[in-house]
Symmetry: C2
């Protein structure tokens, strides 16, 4: 593992749902894992990202529509993604879209999609 | 994907670090991905978990020592795990241990390790 970063993954989650910190963390992890285990995704790219230290950045939007717009952009650009829908067992209504994982891919590719979205602090 | 759950993963994170929600989410995702991409881990088990819907639970402890004790228990029991150490680029001191991902494995196996630890809400 080295410390230069060519690749990253962004996970964009919904601030408007007022998820608890633990709920948010589980949803973001779900998005990240979902992109990785999806059988259609590029395993060579995933392993390059992994060997760099698999950097990931959590970002915030305020609506479901913004998540769906990001999904559409990924489709158009051919970038791997995974949309998380919560079953609604604990905090949320059934089948609530909570976040989207995008990548991993080259920084410049990811920034075309999520470069203007604010960090979730 | 069906809705019966034989497998789960738990991610145990440190409450004493006062991480922001976005930081916590990124660290938890890192732990989850780390266990999955680690080359020594059981890929058949991971895929069983994935096809169930890859359930994950976020738990909270209040010290580094508790994370290290969990790591030791996983070693003794032969359960897969991944300890996350933060580089300290943003919020934390350099090389801070933030969390541990445990499993995925059968519920009863995971519960032996983390069954008494409280949920992170």
């Amino acid at each position: 593992m080295n410390h230069s970063f060519d690749y990253k993954q962004t996970i964009v989650a919904r601030g408007d749902l007022a998820m608890s910190p633990g709920k948010l963390a589980a949803q973001v992890a779900h998005a990240s894992v979902g992109t990785i285990l999806h059988p259609e995704n590029n395993q060579a790219k995933i392993m390059s990202w992994f060997h760099e230290g698999f950097r990931k950045i959590v970002l915030k939007v305020e609506s479901e529509k913004e998540i769906l717009d990001l999904r559409d952009k990924c489709e158009v650009e051919g970038i791997s993604y995974f949309v998380v829908t919560d079953f609604g067992i604990t905090e949320l209504n059934q089948n609530t879209i909570t976040c989207i994982g995008i990548g991993p891919d080259l920084n410049k590719v990811i920034d075309k999609i999520t470069g203007r979205i604010k960090l979730w602090r």
